[in-house]
């Protein structure tokens, strides 16, 4: 009816299906807004039912000596143009609106829920029809249909509200259908079907109880729109005729006397607004209470690992000492609120022009380390302590503006999902052009275009002139990754961070991209920090590798040494479990278990629960990263046992 009513209906259609879970009422009771709304609605409804008892005056008792009065002791909400008591009229008016609302909501629910259940449960043709009907219902302004109906049948509140219920029922259908679809294939429903229950029995006994939360949300939001429609019709003079008190009619009367007694607008409109608000808030609260559990609820507190001071046997890096390196990361700690440390005291160097592998399973903190270097940690994450010197400057201490300039020109990033890393709504040419213009703000259009074409040729893409007009979704994964590499190279960075650059690609395309990276590195002499979990790529590309586990560096070695004789059980386990590594084909020893989340890092050696060399000692103290005489680093007290073994060679 009103614009508001239509928008409420729309927001109803975008609902995720919340499901009712045990404890739902208790969770709802903890929400003050929900309790307040329910209380308000209960009072309004009770007052309407008991109107003859609670209303101070009869709704139509005239008092022509006291017309259009403001609030007073005798008339708390004032009087109208015929001296009738506004409070009493508001109370009696509730009867009309609440009955009309109940009719509208009832019809919409009966039709919508049953059709939605049937469509969702059976699927197929009936499902298709329901979906189309709902689309159409949204496309026709409901008010016009109501006017057509009323123009034929005359003002008839019941017919109007039944029509309203019918008009919006397809919307309910669609939501219920969605909820039914998600429940339909759950195990207990299958079990009920197998046990011989008929379709209607399964729906009534098993599906309906599960989606009752959705139905309550729907009922509440529908009621909000129904109140707006009912009072809107009353306001237009299309509802229950005077002298019966109706909320819409009260506003209409108030509008006539707005010049004389504007106060009348307050009680008449406020009751409608508050009732709509209460229904809306109640619907929101029910949905939130239902989804709270649906989403797993607040996370349980976990035992925190003990944080003791870490021993650093290798000489700590300093600004001065770091100058031989392109990048020196020293004791980097990245934490998220909680507090959760995801990177816990990581140190390593990248030499100019070298390729360093950063290796580990996902969840080890490799990408977080890279994002910390770029100063792009996602929401809430921050560098708690540590330094990252790039060519003598500490990236952690740079201003935001300076770190943006560093990102544009000194560090490049190539990420895993190339297509997702390009803006989907701009062409390749326009995206590269924007980056070129960042580096050369005064370049002419022709110069920018030349540079863009040059970049595309540099990453060996065929037919660059045509390619610049393409959108990311029109590229293959390999092409997109080449474009992403070109984009990373615009500012001619000294350091390229490649985060799993080939994981999403086919094996043959992987090899091409790696070959491209190698040849670009030869041309530009940039260093590459290659983040990967693939030892084949490490063997192909890297001179040295840093192995990370649970936020810590566990081993640093040259790739030759590492493959020949890993000095940390995690590195050994990773190498042995890599099927692509021909040299380790003797047995496929997977490491049992998986990387624990930061809350679950064990005390002592973080790897000990998964380690076959673990002894009681490993659980007692934090294990330091220690350097051996040959310069290799390992965070294992049993590294001597590994020194007796040779993996290959």
């Amino acid at each position: 009816m009103t614009a508001g009513a239509d928008t409420i209906i729309e927001s109803v259609t975008s609902l995720e299906p919340p499901m009712q879970e045990p404890g739902f009422i208790r969770r709802l009771a903890r929400r003050p807004l929900a309790v307040g709304s329910l209380a308000f609605l209960a009072i309004v409804a009770l007052a309407a039912v008991l109107a003859p008892l609670v209303a101070p005056y009869a709704p139509n008792s005239l008092d022509l000596l006291h017309v259009l009065q403001g609030p007073s002791w005798a008339h708390p909400l004032g009087t109208d143009n015929l001296g009738r008591d506004m409070l009493s009229r508001v109370i009696y008016g509730g009867r009309v609106t609440l009955v009309g609302t109940a009719i509208g909501v009832g019809v919409a629910l009966v039709v919508g829920v049953s059709a939605g259940l049937a469509a969702g449960y059976t699927g197929g043709r009936s499902d298709w029809i329901v979906t189309r009907l709902a689309d159409m219902a949204l496309a026709i302004p409901a008010i016009m249909i109501l006017l057509v109906v009323l123009s034929v049948f005359g003002r008839d509140e019941t017919i109007a509200m039944v029509s309203f219920g019918l008009i919006i029922s397809p919307v309910v259908m669609r939501v219920i259908r969605g909820a039914t679809l998600t429940v339909r294939d759950e195990l207990f429903v299958d079990a009920a079907r197998v046990s011989g229950l008929t379709g209607p029995q399964v729906i009534v006994r098993h599906i309906l109880p599960r989606i009752s939360g959705v139905v309550i949300v729907q009922a509440s939001l529908l009621a909000a729109s129904a109140v707006l429609v009912e009072t809107g019709l009353g306001f237009l003079g299309l509802g229950v005729p005077p002298p019966t008190a109706t909320w819409g009619g009260l506003v209409a009367t108030a509008s006539t006397y707005v010049q004389v007694q504007p106060w009348l607008l307050v009680p008449s409109g406020l009751i409608v607004a508050l009732t709509v608000l209460a229904f809306g808030l109640l619907g929101d609260a029910v949905r939130d209470a239902a989804t709270e559990n649906w989403l797993g609820g607040p996370t349980q507190p976990h035992a925190r690992p003990s944080l003791r001071t870490e021993l650093h046997a290798p000489a700590p890096r300093t600004k001065e000492a770091s100058e031989a390196h392109l990048l020196s990361v020293e004791d980097l700690v990245v934490a998220f609120p909680g507090p959760r440390r995801v990177v816990d005291g990581v140190s390593f160097d990248v030499k100019p022009g070298e390729t360093l592998g950063l290796v580990g399973e996902s969840g080890c903190g490799k990408s977080m380390t890279a994002l910390a270097l770029l100063r792009l940690l996602p929401g809430g994450g921050s560098v708690e302590s540590g330094h990252c010197w790039l060519a003598g400057r500490d990236l952690i201490e740079l201003s935001d503006a300076d770190s943006r300039r560093v990102r544009g020109s000194e560090i490049g990033l190539v990420s895993q999902n190339a297509i997702a890393s390009l803006d989907p709504v701009f062409t390749v040419g326009s995206q590269l052009g924007e980056l070129v213009r960042l580096q050369q703000p005064h370049a002419s259009r022709a110069e920018v275009r030349r540079r863009v074409l040059g970049l595309l040729e540099m990453v060996r893409l065929q037919n660059p002139a045509k390619l610049v007009q393409r959108y990311p979704h029109e590229l293959s994964g390999g092409m997109a990754q080449r474009v992403a590499i070109a984009a990373a190279l615009v500012g001619q960075p000294q350091l390229l961070i490649a985060d799993e650059p080939t994981t999403a690609l086919d094996v043959t395309v992987q090899a091409e991209i790696l070959a491209l990276l190698r040849s670009l590195q030869r041309q530009t002499r940039m260093a590459i920090l290659l983040i990967t979990h693939d030892w084949g790529i490490v063997a192909d590309m890297c001179e040295r590798a840093v192995v990370m586990y649970a936020g810590q560096v566990v081993e640093v070695a040259s790739v030759d040494d590492l493959f020949h004789q890993p000095l940390h059980p995690y590195a050994e386990g990773l190498l042995l479990s890599n099927p692509r590594l021909g040299r380790a084909r003797r047995h496929l020893a997977a490491i049992p278990g998986s990387v624990p989340p930061p809350e679950g890092w064990p005390a002592g050696c973080r790897f000990h629960p998964r380690c076959k060399y673990a002894t009681a000692e490993c659980q007692l103290t934090r294990i330091p990263l220690l350097e051996d005489p040959s310069g290799r680093l390992s965070r294992c007290i049993h590294s001597d046992r590994l020194r007796t073994k040779v993996l290959a060679g």
Binding site: V258, G269, P378, Y471
Partner: protein, 313 residues
Amino acid sequence: MVNLIVRRLLVSLPLVFIVSILTFVLLALTPGDPAIAILGPDAPPSSLAHLREQLGLQDPLYTRYWDWLTGAVHGDLGVSLFTGQQVTAALTQRLPVTLSLILGATLLTTTIGVGLGVLASLRHGASGRAIDVLSLLGLAIPNYWLALGLVAIFAVSWRLLPATGYVPLTESPGGWARTLALPVTVLAVAGISVLAKQTRNAMLDVLSSDFIMTLRARGVPERSIIFKHGLRNAAIPVVTIMGLQVVAMLSGTVIVESVFALPGLGNLAVQGTLQHDIPVVQGAAVCFTLIVILVNLLVDLAYGWLNPKARSA
């Protein structure tokens, strides 16, 4: 492009039939004599007979509808039962008022709604909650009440703007703007609250996506990230929401035109309903439906223009 328009129109056309046939079906469903239902039991027999003939009640349903349809195709939607005016003429006379309202409200909704949404997406916490509260209020406050409140303040107390009436644009652009200021504001409030919330959500979605992170990693300045890449991508879902808002505004005109006594389509439909002027209400309903179809078509075109994936599909 042409393909899209043709396809869309083919899907929408049934809507016009459904809406137009409704009146005929309802008349057929009315128990007893519809003429008595319309004119009342005390009406003189001659007027009843006249009305029966006007409505074509002596003919079967399909003949009546066919006659109406052939007329409609030629631009003849019948004659008002009360004024005798051609329905088509009444509609064309009132269309500019409603279109002025809709266009004004759309402009206002888009600029303020999107602006607030972007602002809220950049500041977390308090302003996010403020948008939630605003959107609830925008939906809960009945538009007729808001309209009267604004009249009480701006027209009655402060005498800044006229309370009712309409001045055509061609007569006086200033007067036109002054008469439309309040009704356009009322129409836009609900849309603004919805659009602000949806824009904020869409922006937050986009700003947390991979490519935005990558753009930041390439040193693209925050201004370009938010207003070029962020907004352009967020606009894709927002344009769909905006389309729904325009349809909602169209419903809103029915009330708003009545409150402000604007001679538009909504007002015509309400007057027609109060007088049982069936041809007028039916004509207005068909006209509204055509506007909705046009709006949906424009949304589809805008969607395709904004979203290259939809364009090539």
